[in-house]
Subunit: 346 residues, 2 copies
């Protein structure tokens, strides 16, 4: 089969690799119909994450089950499924506590050991625990499928940011970052009842989309100026800050603008964010930090129900579709900020 | 009057200073009967905090009201009161939300602008919001007063650590640090129903007291060895970690031993703890950080009721009494770890 393989910073290629086969009785083999390129893929693409040549790429995908191991009970050949970006057994202590990303037998797609989503077929470990079946009635509705696809990562991650920051009805929230996760965080905050959603970003088209998703205010300043604006706009700080970038600047903004007694929900993969964390302010003002890598499996059913009901549609984050062969062009577009998020059709 | 004045690292002196007088209609003048030396006083005593010669010292104190401003309604001359380590107006948004340490008109005792508790008399701003009246029946019971005194700081701070870390009935908790705050955190965790309390420290007498206070396990290793022990003892990490020191080593331990999905309650004043924070692990394992400078005013009535009922007694943390003139000797004893906590009798 064909799959995307990392070679070096700036160099990913679509190559022939061995067809996956069932290895464990809990596996499924899934033919990928839709996948994405993620902002976090840019960490290795830009050489910021330590990756090895030969590693597979892509952690957001959905597809159709082709085969299942003998212990798989909830799925069968022909089912349409989507996959959270982490696989998990569904039964361990951490899965039962909805921290599936800490599953005792779990892992992430791609890398050295697993198939990636940016390919034709994936062997999915712990299929019963991991894969989420899409009801047959929706299984061939392309516009619904595009709206479901972000549940593999960015929509669940935005939801995790909002939940972690304590967003509820009437909340005043800030979203730091206008990437796909930030945009989904806006949507999630709106869905959870936030009354005011201030988004911090620089990119006009993304900020327009943020407004469509429910942002009430847009701030294009950065750094200390952004903090000053946030403090002024909210009379002393933002109760719920959703940190959706992960670098030093975004975390400095988040920890500088949170309201005394407030909470930062952090979901941006930390590449430098430790340096930006204003721990002394967090201490002196009792600002909490919650979140982390999103257990999107925990949110799958709830968010899927809303998508199927027409109440949630994150699909506008996709502004470029590519074929599998064109995945390298998709990376270049994401890297150049020419695309918010790329949808891959193998 | 006499009061303790900072001169230089290692050099605090008891000197004559102007008698305080009512300045605002919301002030009270209180004659100090009991005060403490705090572990956090050692930051300036050791030269780690930037202090100026002439600043007053002492933020933990209780006493008898001598005079009140004309707007003070809840107190009168002769009342026995204790003071949280921060004063607060009791009416602003943050006071109403029990983050009195972020009071819009609040501040801390001592320093450049306020009287310190390690002196004969204190002018207390916002007396109605700040001072807590001790019922007359208890006002002259010396053993009760010694048990109430830690509510000015360390007992409320330990309670804040436990609450912030989510300790409740049946909890498994770790307390990092065997100073007075760590010991009070043990007492607080026990009081909130923790089933297992693992304390991390090095000092035999303090660890004995931790056991008296409810610690079920004592670990004397530090650093990575302590983390390994904690992970082993709890089968993968501690759900509620109470960080009661504030340096790099203690925060590295706290963030290294917390259980996936768990919470660190941090109350150690951050002097280096930012460097120790393992943010990548917190992200990958969804470990939260909550807490900060304790709003002990919020906990005063609840904890006072338990002390008066005989259900709570943190007074064993005091292992050295000194007169006001002997405050410098008290600092030296704390600095040398010859005393856990010093009680001052002006």
């Amino acid at each position: 089969m064909k799959a995307t393989v990392y070679h070096a910073p700036g160099d990913v290629r679509v190559e022939n690799v061995p067809d996956p086969v069932i290895r464990e009785a809990t596996d499924a083999i899934v033919r990928v119909t839709h996948a994405c390129i993620c902002g976090s893929d840019l960490w290795f693409y830009r050489g910021d994450a330590k990756w090895e040549p030969g590693w597979r790429t892509g952690h957001e995908w959905m597809g159709i089950v082709e085969d299942v191991g003998r212990d798989v009970t909830s799925l069968e050949k022909g089912d349409r499924v989507f996959a959270p970006f982490a696989y998990s057994d569904g039964t361990c202590e951490f899965c039962r506590h909805d921290v599936q990303t800490s599953c005792l037998h779990g892992g992430y797609w791609g890398g050295a050991d697993n198939d990636g989503g940016q390919g034709e077929v994936v062997r999915a470990p712990w299929a019963d625990g991991t894969l989420v079946k899409i009801p047959d009635a929706a299984a061939n509705d392309e516009s619904l499928l595009r709206a479901i696809l972000p549940l593999t990562d960015v929509m669940g991650t935005g939801h995790h940011a909002a939940l972690s920051a304590g967003v509820g009805p009437g909340a005043v929230a800030a979203v730091v970052g206008d990437g796909a996760v930030g945009l989904c965080a806006v949507l999630a905050a709106k869905r959870l009842g936030a009354e005011r959603i201030i988004v911090f970003g620089r990119h006009a088209a993304r900020l327009d989309l943020a407004r469509r998703f429910g942002a009430t205010d847009v701030v294009t300043e950065r750094g200390d100026e952004a903090i000053a604006r946030a403090l002024e706009m909210t009379g002393g700080g933002v109760p719920a800050v959703l940190e959706c970038v992960g670098n030093a600047g975004s975390m400095a903004m988040a920890s500088g603008m949170a309201r005394p007694g407030g909470t930062i929900g952090f979901v941006g993969v930390p590449y430098g964010s430790h340096d930006g964390l204003n721990l002394r302010r967090m201490f002196s003002q009792n600002i909490a930090l919650r979140g982390g890598v999103a257990p999107v499996r925990a949110y799958a059913e709830e968010l899927l129900a809303d998508v199927l009901a027409g109440a949630l549609d994150p699909s506008p984050v996709f502004d470029l579709d590519v074929s599998l062969d064109d995945v390298p062009r998709g990376y270049a577009a994401m890297d150049g900020r020419d695309a918010i998020k790329v949808l891959v059709r193998p």
